[in-house]
């Protein structure tokens, strides 16, 4: 049996417990909570702390978040360019949603010299949380210790 056949057979026979999806969702919603819910306090606090710190520092630097479904009067295909960074921002879960509901951090503050650093911190915070979410999911499935 070739390696590719073995891999496809493993993928077909592996069953994902329902709780793993909830753990993944929890890990996305509250950074680090997916690990904490599985008793990995150290990892959860490190991931959650790093993601939250990046997000808050990003806002403090004057970075701006990309909104969900608001093209800000831009027509044509241009609004599509807002989608990838919005997906990255959305990775911060509750942090992004709180900002969205309270309309915090969506205004570009170009007068601050650190605003581009802020944008980067906000984008990377979301992307790192996606990584943490996948790690929590892998632990719940049993792929990682």
């Amino acid at each position: 049996m070739s390696l590719r056949e073995k891999r496809s057979e493993t993928a077909l026979t592996e069953t994902v417990p329902g709780g793993a999806w909830l753990i993944g969702l929890l890990g996305w919603f509250v950074p680090g909570a997916g690990h904490v819910a599985q008793g990995r306090w150290g990892r959860g606090l490190l991931i959650g702390g790093a993601v939250m710190a990046m997000f808050i520092i990003g806002l403090a630097f004057g970075g701006h978040l990309f909104p969900i479904g608001d093209s800000q009067g831009v027509s044509g295909w241009s609004p599509l360019l807002q989608v990838p960074p919005m997906i990255a921002n959305l990775g911060a879960g509750l942090l992004y949603l709180v900002c969205w509901v309270t309309n915090t951090g969506f205004v570009e503050q170009a007068k601050l010299e650190t605003f581009e650093y802020g944008n980067t911190f906000l984008l990377v915070a979301g992307l790192l949380n996606y990584l943490g979410m996948l790690d929590a999911f892998d632990i719940a499935v049993g792929r990682k210790p």
Binding site: A50, A53, Y117, L131, G132, L134
Partner: protein, 56 residues
């Protein structure tokens, strides 16, 4: 100086998450996190010096 401090802060936070998710034992995580941090800083400084010689 401010740019360097921001880069160091960014490298610390990203290396923390990478170190936590990428390896299995505590020792491996620590070493991997330090390696990622050193790569961020080293490559950042190297690129900064390279770009210094470009007039644009």
């Amino acid at each position: 100086m401010k740019h360097l401090l921001v880069m160091i802060l960014f490298a610390v936070l990203v290396a923390t998450v990478f170190g936590v998710v990428a390896r299995n034992s505590v020792r491996e995580r620590l070493l991997y996190g330090l390696k990622i941090f050193a790569e961020f800083i080293g490559i950042g400084l190297a690129l900064a010096w390279l770009l210094y010689f470009f007039p644009f």
